[in-house]
């Protein structure tokens, strides 16, 4: 079984991506690839301490490098209004007062910026700047720092701890997760061009052009509409593109200072410090059940690291409130300031972390009960209602996901007794865990421009970070109008297009589907109005009655009432038709709770001599409502599983305790999973429309694919070896020693 069920002929060949050819031929432009006349280059010099104060800066050697136009430090920076005071800085929500402080909060913090005619000259000059510091002792070790930070209540307590103090079955364990970095293939980069004193054009690597407009407008105090942002192609994000980082602000500052367009692209090692990461986390889960496996209560505590200059709290305990029926639930959390950059949302933020502890604890309980972990979960799922707010789920097929996944992996091959399956030095084990994510939807707008030959361009400001948004828009437009797909073009990622929020939190497709539906209706209505001038049958036609083809329109009620596009254009004297529409969530959000879910099943082999863990099979069954396009949808899930394998087995960013530097901050030293580490990932979808979430019935799939993957692997390792490993990543040394 591969990605697709090839035996099912009716399924047809999955569509390719609308941007595929542009990407593989290099025609698609990423932020750093735009050519702007007279452009120069900015490069950061980073601090070489992790905590302290800048005492002196020596620039003479750097200034002598050919082509250097300016060197910006906190001593000579052009004042940025948003960084003028603590209060203003808070309003910008930017966090770091870039070049507006002599304080060093973390290693590799930008402390100088060279602007030069070429990237080479700027890079070389930046390497020649010398600093002296007054150095403080940095705090970078999360595991050592967190015990002294107290917990605080997180949300309301449900029931009480006392209610299950005599639970006959209790699991009470602690779980650790190392910090991980996003490191998308495309480095974060910005080209900034001031076209007037208060007008700015930005080419930026981001997951949301509107967020860039909003943030830069606040920081530089110019009207948001004066900022034009291009982000037409994005080489991955995983959440790192949901914020504006120093490359954006630095490029804008530099461009202002030298009065020329400036490009600032981070280096790979800067990516580790300057674009966020999934923070290290500690958790304690106490889980109580009766002797039949019915959950009685849960106490979930979590802490995560943040920077010393900006609080960032992960929603670690959120998932605990969603998946299972816990009559009694208490959650506590806190954050631990460290001399590191600020963390940010990373694929499945919070839930991915929380699910590791909860799903492992449930697995531990299943062995304690001698009960199949699938059966234990099925017994306790909250299927019909959100256990927190008691609203009915609009749709929730997590039970079908786990049942189908168990069939796919042939779950009965698993032995309840750990360590029972052996092949030579290899032990074989099976593991399961589930994931859930709120199926959100935001406001979004879309536009369509139609030409006489029927060619339509569907447009939105939303970006496509590789998830297949554009392809899905083409699919939906085809479904909603009937227009053949080859007539439907897509334009994305530009702030002058109809506005839409960031592509994050698995809301992209869900939000844009409403806008696409609305704009397709607007187009059909418009065409019907024009057609009515030729054929009175169209006079009161509703959008739902109108069907498009490459050559004209017809009525669903009577296909013979065909009016050609040529006639419509001629009769109405048109050059093109342009329509725009917006859509967003409504009253359904008050009535229902919304979720998407996954069930993960893995089979691992663990070598008892070398500690090697090999994921032999990885199966993910996902409920994402209607699957608009199976190929990018499955691609989302399999990419997430590769991320989950990395999280479970190898990803870890480690800071030297004394020096504060990130050890091995390049793609050779930081181990994310590669193809060799992943089996052929088997993905299946429930593919049932959600009746209320949006007009397409599709729920987002970006996050939920990774949530539950790591605990499934950890649980399989236990099943294989009898060794319970609660500290991610599970590297071979932990398996062995």
């Amino acid at each position: 079984m591969g990605l697709f069920n090839t035996k099912n002929k009716a399924a047809g060949k999955p569509d390719g991506r609308v941007e595929g050819i542009a990407k593989v031929t290099g025609a698609g432009k990423y932020a750093a690839e735009y050519k702007v006349d007279n452009m120069c280059h900015a490069v950061f010099a980073g601090s070489t301490i992790a905590a302290g104060t800048i005492k002196s800066i020596y620039l003479d050697n750097a200034k002598q490098v050919e082509g250097v136009l300016d060197i910006i430090t906190h001593l000579n920076k052009p004042a940025v209004p948003g960084f003028a005071s603590e209060t203003k800085l808070k309003e910008t929500r930017f966090g770091l007062p870039l070049f507006h402080t002599d304080k060093v909060y973390f290693r590799n913090q930008p402390v100088a910026m060279v602007v030069a005619d070429t990237l080479e000259n700027a890079t070389y000059a930046a390497s020649l700047i010398e600093f002296t510091y007054q150095e403080d002792t940095p705090t970078v070790d999360f595991k050592k720092a967190h015990p002294s930070v107290p917990l605080k209540m997180q949300g309301k307590e449900r029931g009480s701890l006392d209610a299950w103090s005599n639970a006959p079955q209790v699991v009470d364990q602690q779980y650790d997760i190392a910090a991980e970095v996003h490191n998308p293939m495309e480095m974060h980069a910005t080209i900034a061009h001031w076209t007037a004193d208060d007008k700015l054009v930005l080419y930026d690597k981001t997951q949301g052009v509107v967020n860039v407009q909003r943030t830069i407008a606040k920081i530089f105090e110019i009207p948001q509409e004066n900022i034009e942002v291009f982000s037409e192609f994005v080489g991955g994000g995983f959440g790192s593109g949901l914020r504006v980082w120093t490359n954006g602000v630095g490029a804008v500052m530099a461009a202002k200072a030298v009065k020329r367009p400036v490009k600032l692209m981070l280096t790979r090692s800067q990516m580790f410090s300057l674009t966020g990461y999934r923070p290290a986390a500690w958790q304690r889960v106490k889980l109580g059940a009766d002797n039949d496996g019915k959950f009685l209560g849960i106490h979930h505590q979590g802490k995560n690291g943040t920077s010393v200059f900006e609080p960032f709290q992960e929603g670690i305990t959120s998932i605990t409130r969603m998946v299972y029926n816990f009559d009694n639930l208490k959650a506590e959390q806190s954050i631990v300031p460290l001399n590191l950059g600020t963390p940010t949302w990373m694929r499945g933020p919070g839930d991915c972390t929380g699910a590791f502890a909860v799903e492992c604890a449930i697995d531990e309980l299943s062995y304690q009960l001698n009960m199949d972990p699938v059966a234990l979960r099925l017994k306790n799922f909250a299927i019909t209602h959100d256990p927190e707010n008691k609203k009915p789920y609009s749709s929730n097929f997590i039970d079908e996901c786990i049942t189908k996944g168990a069939e796919m992996i042939d779950w009965k091959q698993r032995k309840q007794q750990p360590g029972a399956l052996t092949e030579g030095d290899w032990k074989i084990g099976y593991g399961v865990a589930v994931g859930m994510w709120g199926a959100g939807r935001g406001n979004a707008s879309a536009g369509i421009t139609m030409e006489k030959d029927g060619t339509m361009t569907v447009k939105t400001a939303m970006t496509d970070i590789g998830t297949g948004t554009g392809t899905a828009m083409q699919n939906m437009t085809h479904t909603f109008t009937g227009m053949p797909k080859d007539k439907i073009k897509i334009a994305l990622g530009h702030s002058t297009l109809p506005t839409a929020g960031s592509q994050g939190g698995s809301t992209g497709l869900s939000s844009i589907s409403g806008a696409v539906s609305a704009v397709c209706d607007a187009l059909k209505k418009q065409l019907a109005d024009y057609a009515a001038a030729i054929n009175p049958a169209y006079k009161d036609a509703k959008p739902a009655d109108v069907l498009l083809s490459a050559t004209g329109v017809s009525l669903k009620t009577d296909k013979n009432e065909f009016v050609s596009l040529a006639d419509i254009w001629q009769k109405n004297n048109l050059t093109d038709i342009s329509v725009k529409a917006s859509s967003g969530p409504g009253a359904e959000r008050q009535q229902y709770a919304f979720c998407c879910s996954t069930a993960h099943f893995v089979k691992v082999r663990v070598n008892t001599k070398t500690g090697k863990v090999k994921v032999e099979r990885a199966i993910c069954v996902a409920d994402g409502g209607t699957i608009v396009n199976e190929k990018p949808a499955a691609n989302q899930i399999s990419g997430a599983i590769v991320g989950g394998i990395g999280m479970a087995l190898m990803e870890e960013i480690h800071a030297d305790e004394k020096l504060g530097n990130l050890v091995g901050n390049d793609l050779a030293g930081y181990h994310f999973a590669v193809n060799a580490d992943a089996p052929i990932i088997e993905v299946a979808f429930i593919n049932k429309p959600d009746p209320y979430v949006n007009p397409s019935g599709a729920k987002g799939l970006g996050e939920v694919g990774i949530i539950g993957c790591a605990p499934a692997i950890a649980n399989a390792i236990y099943n294989a070896t009898g060794k319970r490993l609660r500290d991610l990543p599970i590297t071979p040394d932990k398996v062995l020693v």
Partner: protein, 325 residues
Amino acid sequence: MKPFSFSKSDKVSKALSAKKEAVQFLAGGTNLVDLMKKNIAVPDGLIDITAVLSDKVEAQSGSTRIGAMVRNSALATDPQILAKNPLVAKAVLAGASPQIRNMASTAGNLLQRTRCPYFYETSTPCNKRKPGSGCSALHGEQRMSAIIGYNDACVAVHPSDLCIALAALGASVNVTDKGNKQLVIPFKDFHKLPESTPDLDNHLPKDAIITSVDIPDNPFNKHFAYVKLRDRDSYAFALVSVAAALDLDGTRIKEARLASGGVAHKPWRWQKAEQYLKGKEANAATFHAAAAIVADEVKPLPGNGFKKVMLMGAIETALQHCLTA
């Protein structure tokens, strides 16, 4: 990167006479160019010697000669190597990525610098990068550090996979020095321990060029294995690696070769264990005993005690694979 001059040479003698202080030879460039980008290597100039060096694998009387410029990917698929020294091909394929192997040269592989993370981070002390500045890894992150042959000056390890196979097979390195004299350096004497000069990785004479590597004909083309344990299955340096080869008479071991990467400042031959294996029955008990001999020799640092257990497992696994693979 610091500006530098660039020239090409077409003869070994010309390249040698053009060589000046602070000028470096460039072959595949897969390591040197990275080091220049990170301001770790800061040469005033580069001399491209790709055209002066042989890119052929040739049979000699009693040995196989690998030209210095034979790319890693070519070496791994060369029919003579696969027939006579398949352990070399196995080791090469365990290293780097296909893109890097397509560029990297045989001689360059011998000369690649350590991957100790502190060597790569120029803002931290490192005796290998800046003699006298101290060793950050000695009290820092030691996952990738040595477990034998190190001292307080340097705990870095040699990163190559190819060299572990070459050490096991008793290769030798052919060198032309600045005065155009030909030298032969036995592989075991080519790389060095840190001693008081951790900035030097090997005994290649100053300004000399490696022209080829010879592997003596050997009986180790039937029972061999290369086991590399690492944090991911491709594009990662070894936590520990083992090149193992057996010459068998039925089930009796006539001769054994055992070498490791990821454990020391140089490719490390486990000679005591090799001696032990000689004449023994090739079975799990023998292999376990050999691994225990190795384990007795190593002295892990506080941060890499796991490597001792892992190395034992790797040795047992590699020796077992010699019988089955």
